[in-house]
């Protein structure tokens, strides 16, 4: 297409866009599905499942940081962050083309909207973080991950090694105070096979909730994890304030998690 034709086409597109605004009104337009910058075949499904009738904007402030290719499909490291986005109440992380798309949801009650985790990937897929701010708008960012795959249907190491049975839900962790920002980095590791249920003959068995509280028992953050989170999850949180924290949670079979971590 030459430049003149291109400009003409843009003009027509603008006119159609303006007409659509007039016809449908702003409220309805706000809930429409925006065009996916990652051009993923899974976006309409993800949108329908998690964001239907809600306002979604693609926002470059929402960052998903991961290697471009998965070196280990059982353990892909991801960091999400939203520097400059205020009042984030809910975070949802999904992988469009994973057999189980939902990786985690996170409520950073008194924490920054940042989190690091690792997950199992079945094939190349976008990884998206959606952050809902106080005004109800979902701000979405994401990247494509290239992967050979098989991560979700491979048995966990734990399923072949009974060591986890005597160490199930044991927590190790540490706090790193950051005086300049009055926050502290919490890193956790929990022993758990995190079976997806997609490996033949091994039922789903995974941690589904972790709550971080302060010394007074007030919630600092809440994390709900799903099948794709890697075996023996390692997580990094950025909590506001300082001081010891208490971790409580459990898995889908009712086994409890409880730990205290001091600075």
């Amino acid at each position: 297409m030459n430049e003149v034709a291109g400009r003409a086409a843009q003009r027509v597109a603008r006119m159609i866009g303006a007409a659509a605004c007039l016809l449908s009104g702003f409220a309805a337009l706000a809930a429409e599905r925006p065009v996916d910058p990652l051009n993923s075949p899974g976006w309409s499904t993800i949108h329908g499942r998690y964001f239907k009738d809600q306002t979604v904007v693609f926002d470059e402030r929402v960052k998903v940081m991961a290697p471009s290719a998965a070196e280990n499909p059982l353990d892909v490291p991801v960091q999400i962050d939203a520097d400059g986005l205020a009042d984030v109440e809910q975070v949802l992380v999904v992988a469009d083309l994973n057999p189980i798309q939902k990786i985690l949801s996170y409520e950073p009650t008194r924490a920054l909207p940042s989190l690091s985790f690792r997950f199992k990937v079945e094939q190349s897929t976008p990884i998206r973080a959606a952050m809902r701010t106080k005004d109800g708008v979902w701000h979405v960012g994401g990247v494509w991950l290239s992967a050979a795959g098989g991560g979700c249907t491979t048995p966990s190491h734990g399923s072949a090694d009974p060591l986890w049975q005597t160490h199930l839900n044991e927590v190790s962790g540490r706090l790193w105070p950051k005086a300049d920002s009055n926050t502290q980095r919490l890193r956790l590791r929990v022993v758990h096979p995190m079976d997806t249920g997609l490996a033949s003959g091994i039922p789903a068995f995974y941690i589904d909730r972790l709550v971080i509280s302060d010394a007074q028992g007030e919630q600092i953050a809440r994390l709900n994890t799903y099948e794709p989170i890697s075996e023996n999850p390692v997580l990094s949180f950025d909590l506001k304030g300082s001081g010891p924290v208490r971790i409580t949670g459990g898995d889908i079979q009712g086994n409890k998690i409880a730990a205290e971590i001091r600075p």
């Binding site: 280990n72 991801v78 960091q79 190790s172 540490r174 990094s236 730990a259």
Partner: protein, 310 residues
């Protein structure tokens, strides 16, 4: 016109899709008397390079030829054997594999009639993960892999001095890059084939690395009386520069990962840390650095996470 171009592309694609047709254009380089190296590109695996990112070699004896590593595919092994035939009428009588990584052993099918020896650990690794390594290389390299299958080594290499085809060799088992590396030393010319224990001008790989053992092996290599060194990747050396660079990178890498873990960084943050200026000339640096973090960082970070009280 576009349709014609498309048809031409399809025809061209069909012609290059068969592995036998992938032309590696292997050119043996004489590095010492009767000792040759086939120097690969210092790249990652791509469809364009057919997986030829590796150095292999051969030693011409009185009545036979000793091959060191068979390359990344059946087509490579076949063309390597043809390249050897272009240098000498002697038949290949022995193949040694330096370790169980796919760019070094997947040409074995071309030597089905020849003894193929490797360390016990390498032979065990081939049986355990050979097929997974093969699948991954098909994904990365594509058509040049056509017809390639895993062929195991036929014998465990006994360490020490051997005489093959009238040539005195020393087989030096070591570890660090993998659990079962093997170096081949040609006594007459003092040429050392290090396998991937030495990388030069290309960032090293760590999927099975044990850095303390690797560093100890590098110290042992420094004590060997070699004149020529064929590293696993990168140009041939006549000094210790490859050993020094490999050691420098490993020491920096382990120090950087330990420091990052002690600062509470997570893996994506570590991947974004700056790499010292002196390494920036290494080929495929950023890719291999990221891969190394995926391989090695979990062990470093666990050291920094003490058991919590319930």
């Amino acid at each position: 016109m576009l349709r014609w171009a498309g048809a031409a592309l399809i025809v061209a694609g069909a012609m290059t899709a068969r592995g036998d047709d992938f032309a590696y254009q292997l050119k043996p380089t004489a590095v010492a008397d009767g000792v040759y190296a086939l120097i690969g590109k210092t790249e990652n695996f791509t469809r364009d390079n057919g997986g030829n990112i590796v150095n292999t070699g051969f030693i011409v004896g009185q009545d036979g030829v000793i091959v060191i590593d068979s390359g990344p595919s059946k087509a490579y092994g076949t063309q390597q054997r043809a390249a050897i035939a272009g240098v000498t009428p002697q038949k290949v009588t022995q193949v040694y594999l330096t370790h169980a990584h796919p760019d070094h052993f997947l040409g074995n099918q071309a030597y089905a009639d020849v003894p193929i020896a490797a360390t016990v650990a390498t032979n065990a690794a081939l049986r355990q993960s050979g097929d997974a390594l093969l699948d991954n290389l098909y994904r990365l390299v594509g058509g040049a892999m056509s017809g390639t299958q895993v062929q195991f080594g036929s014998a465990d290499a006994a360490p020490g001095s051997v005489r093959i085809a009238g040539r005195a060799l020393r087989l030096i088992p070591a570890a660090g890059h993998t659990a079962g590396d093997l170096m081949v030393f040609d006594e007459a010319t003092k040429t050392l084939f290090t396998g991937d224990l030495v990388f030069f001008q290309r960032a090293l790989t760590t999927p099975n690395a044990d850095i303390p053992r690797w560093l100890a092996t590098l110290d042992a290599i420094d004590k060997l009386d070699f004149k020529v060194m064929v590293p696993g990747h990168g140009p041939v050396l006549r000094d210790h520069a490859g050993v020094m660079q490999t050691r420098d990178y490993l020491q920096w890498l382990s120090g950087a990962l330990k420091d990052a873990a002690n600062r509470g960084l997570d893996m994506p943050e570590v991947m974004r840390l700056p790499i010292p200026e002196r390494f920036r000339t290494l080929a495929v640096l950023q890719t291999e650095y990221s891969r190394s973090i995926a391989h090695l960082y979990p062990a470093y970070e666990l050291e920094t996470l003490p058991a919590a009280r319930p």
